[in-house]
Symmetry: C2
Subunit: 208 residues, 2 copies
């Protein structure tokens, strides 16, 4: 089973690394970070870069596609090589997934027409431009397309998908291996729960 995680410049690291850390432990899974030109990709902020060692051309038919988000997704939307790969790979994939604003790449490629989908909460309205029906759910399965909400939601998405790719025992084994028993010190992780002033502050800063 081949799982391709797309990397690009100015991605959000956790969008990619959350699913990676789950999928890499599925027995038999071959997880690869891929990019149109292999190399080093910096995150939105300084201090960290991720490496994709595999060119897109080497993984034309992954079973699972993962498209992370981040400020750089706008450039991916406009990159004909990556969009052509995505469209061709989606033809044969078992699951095509995104985390955070990675769903805008799926949308720009035309894959979300008439699909229920999610994204980072500040980007939900943008999904409508692509004919999708936005929803605030954390993980959205619609046909073979799976979209996850902002950043950290990729972990939940990957665990839910692992049950379908393998079985529940495998998913629970991985959950225990990464000790995913979340205990956030605050309850501010969604716009419905965070103090309204914080929601407004982030909405005002949003690029959407």
């Amino acid at each position: 089973m081949q799982i391709a995680i797309l990397l690009f410049e100015r991605l959000t690291a956790l969008d990619a690394v959350g699913p990676y850390e789950v999928f890499r432990s599925i027995p038999g899974a071959d997880v690869r970070c891929v990019a149109s030109v292999p190399g080093t990709f910096h995150t939105e902020h300084r201090g960290l870069a991720l490496v994709a060692e595999t060119p897109l051309s080497e993984v034309p038919n992954p079973d699972v596609i993962v498209v992370p988000g981040g400020y750089g997704e706008v450039d991916v939307r406009n990159d004909p090589t990556t969009i052509a790969w995505l469209l061709a790979a989606h033809e044969t994939s078992t699951w095509t997934t995104s985390v955070c604003t990675g769903s805008l790449v799926l949308g720009a490629a035309g894959l979300l027409q008439s699909h229920r989908a999610t994204s980072h909460w500040t980007a939900l309205d943008v999904l409508r431009e692509f004919g999708a029906e936005p929803t605030l759910e954390r993980v959205v399965f619609d046909g073979k397309i799976v979209t996850a909400a902002g950043v950290s939601s990729g972990i939940d998405m990957a665990l839910a998908l692992t049950e379908r790719l393998a079985d529940r025992t495998t998913a629970e084994t991985i959950q225990l291996a990464i000790e995913y028993d979340p205990q956030p010190p605050f309850d501010a992780g969604s716009p419905a729960k965070a103090p309204p002033a914080i929601v407004e502050h982030l909405r005002a800063q949003s690029r959407f």
Copy 2:
């Protein structure tokens, strides 16, 4: 404020990237992935590598030290350059932290003597060899040393620490920005919650 995240070969990616994704959004924080020799560091599994662009020598006095875990931590324990940096940096740090088996590096450096500390649940007993008092808590503050449990716990640790480094509003703002409203599809994230057969399976596979 300088925050140094140590990278090394065969690390667990999420141990490093969870805290990175939180700390990088603290206003004024300068977060750097550091290594004795800058370069590319592969994770325990194939398919992904992280880049540290800053040598330890360039960040001798970080305010916060983050030591992730992973199979490669045994080599770090035996690397005189990194241990010397850690000991010296700990002299002046505000907080010295670890995620997962990164606490074994702190222990090997002698920093956990008579400290309450945690680690990946399969590694808890190893902490005793370093004079520490192991605990199954997810995030353990003891003096200026903060240890987090397995892999994904680094996110919780970093949010709790952000409140102390900045304030609660900053921590909640970051929680909302990374949409950390966890909804694990299963409840198997700790040895107390997972099916006993899964706990035994992973314990039997453990290198400890």
